[in-house]
């Protein structure tokens, strides 16, 4: 199993939220293979951005590409879902990394 963290940031409110879940290695590799390739920068403003981290790998997915497959992953990571380790973290404190 591999520990995965999903962080949603952005939105007009600029609030970040994180969720965790455990995945089989094979499923994680499958998710990595369907990550959208780099495209023209979206013209969307104030939409969410999802970052999915596992070990030293990070997938960055704009909300406009957040399809049913990714939604399913997030549903599994939400608190209260059976069979998953689900923790609803408080927002990160971005002031923890100020410029020197």
């Amino acid at each position: 199993m591999i520990s995965v963290t999903i962080t949603r940031s952005g939105g007009v409110a600029g609030l970040s939220r994180s969720w965790h879940l455990l995945l089989e290695h094979e499923e994680w590799r499958r998710l990595c293979s369907r990550t959208p390739m780099d495209e023209e920068p979206p013209r969307d403003r104030d939409r969410y951005t999802y970052r999915i981290r596992a070990r030293d790998e990070v997938l960055v997915i704009p909300e406009s590409r957040w399809d049913d497959g990714w939604r399913g992953l997030l549903e599994r990571a939400r608190p209260g879902e059976p069979g998953e380790e689900a923790v609803d973290d408080p927002p990160e404190d971005p002031t923890a990394a100020p410029l020197p």
Binding site: T7, S9, G10, G11, V12, A13, G14, L15, S16, P41, P42, R43, D44, R45, D46, R47, Y48, T49, R51, S64, P90, P91, E92, D93, P94, T95, A97, P98, L99
Partner: protein, 350 residues
């Protein structure tokens, strides 16, 4: 298609009554059920069509079309109110319609700009996007508003400054087109906050010293310990809540936040130029949209900015715009320079 035991006319009455009695959860549920009624869909589509090219008249008045996504994440949705039509009775639809009009009025009356592109572009918005969707956004062509979850956020059309914020993203896209990352992205966000609050001040006829300088006031439910999404006058103080945490906006360049989230902290570091604007506007006094607001608009449209302009570059453009407006020795120009220096930014030279 889900079947409903409640007939459409009764669902419509539930929507109206629940909204009147401030029962948004009930209204949402009834609205969803109503939206899934095929007969209602067909009737609404026959009655209201989007604007066609021949409908366009004078470019100095807005052409608004508000559509209803009916709790789906598909845009544009079903058109439900367009220019000149009477209020629909749906608060989200009517707030969006009025908010687009108020934003059009600010840019037209204060800056002689006709709509987003300066050429009378029709203003399109979609409401009731998604299910309990906690956001509003600009998709490059239209404004899109969620209903909120009812626990943290109310519907996003409830805040005029948020409507002005979203539409200003369109103005920036058609002018300096600031890249949405790092400092240029934070400037992009700040400009939306600046003109968002100016839409409110213009509508209310407020002077700078009477204004709240809050972005998104009224958006949080009573359960949240917070006044708004952001405070331009005092970044970092808008909310402090057990669930949301503390407002992370810095008020000075010394606290600039380096982060990979939020496109490099565009909604966080916007606090720095936001505060510079509020400081300058209060120092100059009077109606902010006429003085410092006009200077910020002149900087945005000056042609001096590039997509990756940083804070210092934009500050320099505002100082030059202030010189053109008031003269190089004017106290108002000095107020602009002082405001930038107070937040730790030395205005750049051309």
């Amino acid at each position: 298609m889900r079947c409903s035991i409640v007939p459409p006319y009764l669902l419509a009455r539930i929507v109206a009554a629940a909204e009147e009695r401030a029962m948004p959860a009930a209204a949402r549920a009834a609205r969803r059920a109503l939206a899934e009624t095929p007969m209602v869909h067909a009737a609404r589509r026959r009655e209201i069509l989007p604007f066609a090219a021949e409908d366009f008249g004078s470019p100095r008045s807005p052409r608004r079309t508000i559509s209803d996504a009916e709790s789906t994440e598909t845009v544009p949705g079903v058109p439900v109110r367009r220019e000149g039509e009477t209020a629909s009775g749906d608060p989200a639809v009517d707030e969006a319609y009025e908010g687009l009009g108020a934003t059009f009025a600010l840019f037209d009356e204060a800056y002689d700009r006709s709509s987003i592109d300066g050429r009378g572009l029709p203003l399109d918005a979609t409401v009731h996007y998604g299910e309990e969707y906690d956001n509003a956004f600009w998709n490059g062509e239209r404004m899109v508003f969620g209903d909120g979850d009812g626990e943290v956020f109310r519907r996003f059309t409830i805040s005029l400054s948020v409507i002005g914020h979203e539409l200003t993203h369109g103005v920036t896209q058609h002018t300096a087109n600031l890249a949405y990352s790092g400092q240029s992205g934070a400037l992009n966000e700040s400009l939306s906050d600046v003109f968002g609050v100016l839409v409110e001040q213009h509508r209310r006829g407020q002077n700078a010293d009477e204004a709240s300088w809050l972005v998104g006031e009224g958006l949080f439910t009573e359960a949240v310990h917070g006044r708004a999404l952001r405070s331009m006058a005092a970044p970092g103080t808008a909310y402090d809540d057990p669930l949301l945490g503390q407002d992370p906006q810095p008020a000075h360049m010394d606290q600039y936040v380096q982060t990979d989230e939020d496109d490099g902290g565009v909604h966080i570091n916007s606090g720095i130029p936001n505060r510079a604007f509020a400081l300058a506007a209060v120092a100059v006094g009077g109606r902010a949209w006429e003085g410092v607001g006009a200077v910020w608009y002149a900087a945005l449209t000056s042609g001096e900015l590039v997509p990756d302009s940083d804070f210092a570059s934009f500050a320099g453009a505002t100082v030059r715009a202030a010189s053109r407006r008031w003269g190089s020795a004017a106290v108002e120009r000095e107020a602009v320079v002082d405001a930038w220096r107070t937040v730790g930014i030395e205005p750049g030279r051309a």
